[in-house]
Subunit: 124 residues, 2 copies
DNA sequence: CAGGATCCCCTAGGATACTG
DNA sequence: CAGTATCCTAGGGGATCCTG
């Protein structure tokens, strides 16, 4: 099976141990990173929305993931000074760009999950 | 920022705790899974090639990653009964399909890594 | 409501040595 | 060459309690 590989320009760097892309990939493809990014691709959402949306996520991990993504400039945080507090999260332009790549990946995983995990038929 | 979200059909399942896609995503977006898949998108490669290519990977993790991907039907293993041993790895059709989604992601990470990590300007 | 702060566990992942 | 077998640890990630 031959393929559409990485442009040769990337071929060097991407596999290098010290390449910053390693870090970015780690953040972005972390257990919850993907889900949060994809969830936000549907538009601005509140903390509690995300908490319920990404079923199974702990408060700690939601906070941590959000903070990392914010530092990376992928997610923007809008805290409103009201009581009770209200904080909305949304994608930055760059985050949106990324989510456009992530959404097809997640959709693919969803489509193929059954066959991959349960070996339900080889057809495709 | 509004977006091209997941088709509503996926919206439910993907975020559910028990969804098999969680497992698939974990395998595929694992630290080394992405790199191996992308490396193989360039064509069949030997164990030792991959070991050198994915700079920093340990033998243990290479073996483990390859085995998981093989079980998932994404990578196929071709062991030739010669001395010294020679084993080639390549993508299955499904793995190839997946790599087509992964390659742009890695390329994006590579392009944006510097600005994300070092905050080198906001321009794009 | 939206988190911080703590404590703790588990396992992904590294290092090293050995083998068919 | 292409792995397995062991041992070991950093930190990803969960549970719980606290607060502006």
């Amino acid at each position: 099976m031959k393929a559409a590989p990485l442009p040769p320009a990337f071929a060097d760097g991407v596999f290098a141990a010290g390449c910053p892309s390693r870090t970015v990939l780690d953040h972005v493809t972390s257990k919850w990173g993907v889900l949060i990014l994809v969830a936000l691709s549907e538009g601005e959402q509140r903390w509690s929305d995300l908490r319920r949306r990404a079923e199974g996520i702990s408060e700690k991990m939601l906070a941590q993931t959000l903070k990392t993504l914010e530092r990376d400039g992928l997610v923007s945080r809008d805290a409103q000074p009201v009581i009770p507090p209200r904080v909305d999260y949304s994608l930055t332009e760059r985050g949106y760009e990324l989510s456009a790549l992530l959404v097809p990946l997640v959709a693919w995983a969803f489509d193929n999950a059954d066959e991959i995990i349960n070996g339900t038929g080889k057809a495709k």
